[in-house]
Amino acid sequence: MSKNIQKTEGIVTKHIPIGEADRIVTLISPSIGKIRAVARGSRKPKSKMGGHLIPITRVKISVANTKTIDQITEVETIESFRKIKEDLYLLSKASYMTELAENFVQEHSESKQIFNLLLQCITLLQIAPDIEILVKFFEIKLMSQTGFKPEMIICSECGTKLVPGSYKFSFESGGLLCHQCAGKIHSFTEKLSTNSIKLIRFIQNENFEKIAKLNSTKNLLEEIERVISGYMRSILDKELKTKPFLDLIAKQTKNSITSKNTL
């Protein structure tokens, strides 16, 4: 039996138990995009694969193409991101980012850009001083890479160049609306202040090193979050599975920070 074996690397996004001792594992790889393959016996305690195929782990793998579902034949950890896995808050962010990335990656298609962005952001999660802006950085860059770049320079309906100011963002047209168009379109818009618009533009154009140096972005981020998550929902046409958990942990983290501050 001649099998076509592909060697690549990937970031594990999820695993689902199947049968007695197997798992179906999903990964994002730079060379062949989304991989969905079975890891036979990976749930057995003595399995050589089980410990490596954990979500949010960067691995080197060999995948054998079979007539039915592809099969993982070898796996080795490159980076396990231990700090993330020991912190619920970081883990909720990493889970969200991997699920989001997975939605934009197809099987058998090169996905180097998305893979690199995801890898960069997961790595930064462990050291970035401001996690919230890192997640926004990830979302906004991902949108640019996948053809959904939020239009922040001209009106996304009529193309009029926008002078500095506060504008409504339309989820449907994926960008800002001039005041005239905003008067005609009422559904699914969210207001953005002058500073929030500037910040989104800055994130679109700069690398994370520069963005991380920005101060006083806290109140802007809440506004941007409403726009980005609304726009993302309209692009994907669904709610992400990790979103409720993300929101719950964010709420609890916020509460524990405020309760610590009041002590």
């Binding site: 305690p45 003595k46 410990g51 912190d87 619920l88 883990l91 699920e99 599975k241 409720p244």
Partner: protein, 203 residues
Amino acid sequence: MANHQSTSKSITNLIEQFSKLPGIGPKSAQRLTYYMVKASKEQAFDLSHAISELKEKILSCSECFNITEQSPCEICSSSSRDTSIICVVEQPIDVIHIERTGVFNGLYHVLNGVISPINGIGPENLKITEFFQRIFSLQIKEVILATNPSMEGEVTSMYINNFLSEKKIKTSVLARGLPIGSDLEYTDDLTLVKALEGRKLLD
């Protein structure tokens, strides 16, 4: 002809039922069905009776959510168990495994699953609120988190631990490390790190 059709319908029906069971594919389901065709009437009746009895008699313990024939279950209502210590597990089957070791004499709490962000399963889908309530009403002094060392199990443990550490309740997790009979060479980094962290002094 009509007769033949009705038999084949009951056969396909049973095959369908069998193949819904975990670990049973269409081939095994077929094999089991044709075995039952040949089996005696008594054996078939015993099987169906055992299954329906299970569903009539087995319920979920109102305290620990383990499966039981009486609620509260035997463990929860026993006077010889240590009620200051509680062991949190994912599934009823985990209780059976820990009980079999005979080294634990406290109470249990069955979560009926694990937090799995990627599958959209949050704390609200599990018996976690019930657990927190129980801790206070029983005045628990120590909690052992015995979820699986999978990512979902760890997330669940961390989530519960966040709550318990605020309440200053002594909490431990089962030691993570190398399975007996395993090979160091093939062990992943995470397991090795955990094994090193959880190393034990020799007497």
